[in-house]
């Protein structure tokens, strides 16, 4: 999904009615937002944080210092690790790490839904749709989290809903 399209999704899910115009820069097609009252902003997470503030939903950036730092940590993870790494092995490592991280968590920060969940969901969507039933079961925590986020009101929009089976088929693998 191109960054501009993703930002459009985010705008909608944040309830921002007036859409912004985005251009893309360089071979990696980094999104650029020309703001009305200042210099342009470059970069997916930078623009996303800006949109959150525009929508007056600062709570999505975290409420305590710790939570804010964790949100930014996962946003950084999203643009450095999830984007651009599309080899099978990379994806596997990524899912494995995330699966282990999410073992005791509902959302990325723990108990609060944040921008990190939204962008990681958008970023992972293209990988998760291709997972086999067996893989989804292997990355059980990721599947649980992903399924949860895609049902969060207003987030998924036109993205395809990924089907997860509730009962386990491959009990041996655990």
């Amino acid at each position: 999904m191109a960054a501009a399209a993703e930002l459009k999704l985010l705008e909608k899910s944040l309830g921002l009615s007036k859409g912004n115009k985005y251009s893309a820069q360089g071979e990696r097609q980094i999104p650029v937002l020309q703001t009305n009252n200042g210099p342009s902003l470059t970069g997916l997470t930078t623009i996303a944080a800006h949109l959150v503030k525009q929508a007056n939903k600062e709570y999505l950036l975290g409420s305590t210092a710790e939570e804010k730092a964790i949100v930014q940590q996962w946003l950084e993870y999203r643009v450095t690790r999830v984007d651009g790494h599309s080899s099978k092995d990379d994806v596997r490592t990524l899912l494995k790490d995330l699966n282990s991280y999410l073992e005791d968590k509902v959302y990325l920060t723990g108990y609060n839904f944040t921008l990190a969940d939204i962008l990681l969901y958008y970023g992972l969507h293209r990988f998760v749709v291709d997972l086999t039933v067996q893989e989804k079961e292997k990355y059980l925590n990721v599947s649980r989290w992903f399924c949860h986020i895609q049902h969060h009101p207003g987030i998924r929009q036109h993205l395809s809903a990924v089907v997860f089976i509730k009962n386990r088929l491959y009990t041996n693998s655990h």
Partner: protein, 864 residues
């Protein structure tokens, strides 16, 4: 190994919070501390941190990996990160703020400084031209908390402290793919503005009329007030050897491209070079060949001149240093330095051979190493332990010529007081360097000399073959070559015109470009400027010092003694035309990093770039005009596609100019090939050979495409002129390009072959190089065989050995000596070394036997 339980790849630093959560990136950790202290997040900081994570880090890890793990240096390290550094610099200077996010330092500054510090603390990796980055980095580095942090993390080991961590990281190969993005030209080409297209079209329409008349040839060439006066020198090759390809590309050929380019721009240009003829090396060679030093110089000067003529080097003067002018000017500079108190006398202890009645230069002494006891240590260095030796410390020293034992004698010498001149030098550099085109390696070398502090330098030698020292008590001495060799440029000019001072004492009007390999930088960038500044005679000093790295041969070095590599005189025997050599050498010019000559690569470049790309395009364009239009350039009706092509070509032409103005010779060559690639594509897409058989409209379209293509070919012939002068002239003759258009290159692309222009006979420009041809050349020049050369021929020596046999023996001794040295340097097997040493001793014995009488001129050709 595994720091964060949920991350597979080891990652540091990591901060574990009280809640059990981890922050596993530097910027997240720093952000957390800033948030704790009450800071509010803002867009600009977010943007910098995102850029740091996505752009800077990949580039930086690649650079650090090359530096620390692979031990690379210079441009190899700087290359991947240069774009990121420039980006920071531009941002700082554009906003004219001292810090990244405003007037005070912020989170962004801390994170970026911390990331960059390990690399940038070495000034070699902080490019001088990035002034804003420079001062930002210095400001932060000088702050106490930053200093303490750096101390704690790097533990005074510098960047090497990162080694254990970096070694665990994967090889940054994934980055190299992205690094190709230092060629943003192609991308930019896709986005032409309407304005650019309009300008290209209007320049095209101006045609031949826009080309100014040729500036008249002067003789002699002298600076003209109000014009751009370009004085170009190429390092003076030592007379006593035949130059190899590395020498040729390093100086004369590079300087030639620039000189030819400079003339194409109609700049007032003087290009000079010559042979450097004085010194011990010449005396040695003379003894070896049984000639007088003067005879040696005459012989080799002619060899050099012939080689450069064959390579089509466009010297205005190719002179030599053994002239009365050299004596006059050197002595004058010396006298001026002396009266101004920049020269002092001191005694030096030196070895003197009473038998030969002379002081021995380091290379004439051999003895036992005072450190390791090795028997054949040289006067300057021991080949076994590698320590530097002061010749008088050798035990059992021997004169290499007569084998008698020299004695230590003290001798008076003159020293140039460089410490006294250091301040003037720094002032001059401070004015000259910023904004100039000094290559990064030259800046680096000069900086490191200055950092260590200049020391007095002995400028006299106990020799005969040199410029005499005009001072009482110094009648038996001459100036040391490195004092007077660089004065050679001045004296060579003085032999060309008696008005030489208009070039050399005219810093306001003259732009001096000096070309050399990096080993010559100290003499040109430091010693000569010091002498000239101390002489207080308004000398013209180097404005742009252009130094190349080294060219290797296949996998090793060029070696005359081992017969490895291609030397100037052999290139002509290969049957490959000079222009092909020029093209290949220039396309691998060691610009920014060492490069290697490779036969396979030469074949590849010739067959792909020259034959299939450039040659194919120019030939097709010309052939279409001859075949379809009777040799007469057809009418051109430009469509918007054609106009876009004009603009693309113009952009690439401007890029070529930008690069050559900065003397980036190798890169500019790529622009030529890019234009011809555009041309080939254009022909391929428009298929004039089909359209010519079609309707009236199709035929007209074929005419436009052919006409535009042949005009691009004409433009290429001029752009090619600095690189391949003969091919350029051939194309221009084939196309009958009007005279002024042949020798002037504008920054725009006018139509120089208008409709109705009659072209000449078109024929192919390049020949294919075949595999067997190249393979046999590779074998002939010993490429790739790093093993020891075949055992030397043992020549029977009799008591009445002729000079020819002695010569052969001497060559063998030298050759064998090198084999031994080579083996020892490689720490080869002891028995093998012993065997080779035995051979060497045997040869020496034979030589001693054979040498009963004084040497005469050898009649036969020297054995290779």
């Amino acid at each position: 190994e595994c720091v964060v339980p949920f991350l597979t790849r080891p990652k540091v630093p990591v901060l574990q919070l009280d809640s059990g959560n981890y922050l596993f990136s530097t910027s997240a950790i720093c952000r957390y501390f800033f948030l704790l202290s009450g800071w509010e997040q803002d867009d600009l900081t977010n943007q910098w941190l995102e850029w740091e994570a996505t752009e800077l880090q990949p580039a930086l890890s690649a650079a650090l990996y090359y530096l620390v793990v692979q031990g690379k240096k210079g441009e190899d390290v700087l290359g991947p990160i240069r774009r990121a550094l420039t980006y920071i610099d531009h941002n700082l200077s554009r906003r004219s703020c001292p810090f990244l996010a405003g007037e005070t330092e912020s989170l962004a500054d801390i994170v970026l400084w911390g990331a960059l510090y390990p690399l940038l603390q070495d000034p070699a990796y902080l490019p001088e031209e990035l002034g804003a980055l420079h001062s930002w980095f210095q400001t932060l580095s000088s702050q106490e908390p930053c200093q303490r942090a750096a101390e704690m993390v790097l533990k005074q080991q510098g960047v090497l402290a990162l080694r254990p961590y970096l070694q665990k990281q994967p090889h940054p190969s994934s980055f190299e793919g992205g690094a190709v993005s230092n060629e943003p030209e192609e991308e930019e080409l896709a986005t032409l503005s309407e304005e650019e297209i309009a300008m290209a079209v209007s320049a095209w329409e101006q045609g031949l009329g826009s080309i100014p008349p040729l500036r008249p040839q002067q003789n002699p060439v002298l600076p003209v007030a109000g014009e751009r006066n370009v004085l170009i020198t190429s390092a003076l090759p030592y007379v006593n050897n035949v130059p190899h390809l590395g020498n040729i590309i390093g100086c004369v050929l590079s300087a030639d491209v620039f000189a030819r380019y400079s003339r194409l721009r109609q700049w007032n240009t003087l290009y000079l070079c010559g042979t450097d003829e004085y010194g011990t090396a010449t005396e040695t060679k003379a003894m070896e060949e049984g000639l007088t030093p003067q005879e040696i110089c005459d012989k080799y000067h002619a060899i050099h001149a012939n080689i450069y003529r064959w390579f089509n080097i466009s010297f205005d003067i190719f002179g030599r240093t053994t002239t009365p002018q050299q004596t006059k000017i050197t002595q004058d500079i010396f006298q001026r330095l002396l009266t101004r108190g920049f020269v002092f006398q001191d005694t030096m202890e030196q070895l003197r051979c009473e038998h030969c009645a002379r002081f021995l230069a380091d290379r004439f002494v051999e003895g036992v190493c005072p450190f390791c006891g090795y028997e054949e240590a040289r006067g300057d260095q021991c080949d076994k332990c590698g320590k530097l030796i002061n010749a008088i410390e050798l035990k059992k020293p021997q004169c290499k010529v007569c084998r008698s034992c020299p004695v230590v004698k003290s001798s008076q010498h003159l020293f140039l007081d460089l410490p006294k001149l250091e301040k003037r030098l720094e002032e001059w550099l401070g004015k000259t360097l910023p904004g100039s085109d000094w290559t990064p390696n030259a800046r680096f070398i000069i900086r490191s000399w200055l950092r260590d502090g200049l020391k007095p330098r002995c400028i006299t030698r106990d020799l005969k073959w040199g410029t005499p020292v005009p001072l009482e008590g110094f009648e038996d001495k001459v100036f040391y070559v490195w004092f007077d060799a660089t004065i050679g440029y001045v004296s060579i000019t003085a032999n060309y015109t008696d008005q030489w001072e208009r070039w050399w004492k005219n810093p306001e009007q003259v732009n001096l470009y000096q070309f050399m390999a990096k080993d010559n930088v100290p003499f040109h960038g430091l010693v000569f400027p010091c002498s000239a500044l101390g002489a207080e005679d308004n000398y013209t000093l180097v404005s742009h010092l252009i130094a190349t790295e080294y060219l290797n041969y296949e996998d090793g070095k060029f070696s005359k003694s081992r017969g490895v590599g291609v030397f100037g005189d052999m290139a002509q025997d290969t049957g490959i035309p000079a222009d092909i050599w020029r093209f290949y050498l220039l396309s691998i010019r060691p610009e920014g990093q060492d490069s290697a000559f490779s036969w396979t690569d030469m074949l590849l470049k010739n067959n792909s770039e020259l034959l299939n790309n450039l040659g194919n395009f120019i030939n097709r364009a010309g052939m279409f005009v001859s075949k379809f239009f009777g040799g007469c350039v057809p009418e051109m009706v430009l469509t918007s596609d054609d106009q876009r092509l004009l603009a693309h070509v113009t952009l690439e032409l401007q890029h070529y100019h930008q690069l050559l103005e900065k003397v980036r010779i190798r890169e500019a060559l790529r622009s030529i090939l890019t234009i011809s690639r555009h041309g080939n594509q254009y022909i391929q897409v428009n298929e004039p050979w089909k359209r010519i058989k079609g309707s009236e409209a199709d035929r007209q379209r074929a005419g436009t495409v052919t006409g535009l293509a042949v005009n691009i070919a004409a433009l290429l012939s001029v752009m090619l002129q600095p690189y391949m002068p003969t091919v350029s002239a051939t194309i221009q003759a084939q196309l009958q390009l009007p005279a002024p258009a042949c020798s002037v290159l504008l920054t725009s692309f006018p139509c120089t072959l208008p409709a109705g222009h009659q072209i000449g006979t078109v024929s192919p420009l390049f020949q294919k190089l075949e595999n067997d041809q190249i393979e046999s050349l590779r074998q002939r020049f010993g490429g790739g065989q790093a093993k020891a050369p075949p055992t030397p021929v043992v020549v029977e020596a009799t008591a009445t050995a002729g000079p020819q046999q002695i010569q052969v023996l001497m060559d063998e001794v030298t050759k064998q000596g090198n084999i031994v040295r080579e083996l020892k340097a490689q720490k080869a097997d002891k028995n093998q070394v012993a065997a080779e040493v035995a051979k060497l001793l045997d040869l020496k014995k034979q030589l001693a036997l054979a040498e009963g009488k004084p040497l005469e001129t050898p009649k036969g050709k020297k054995k290779k």
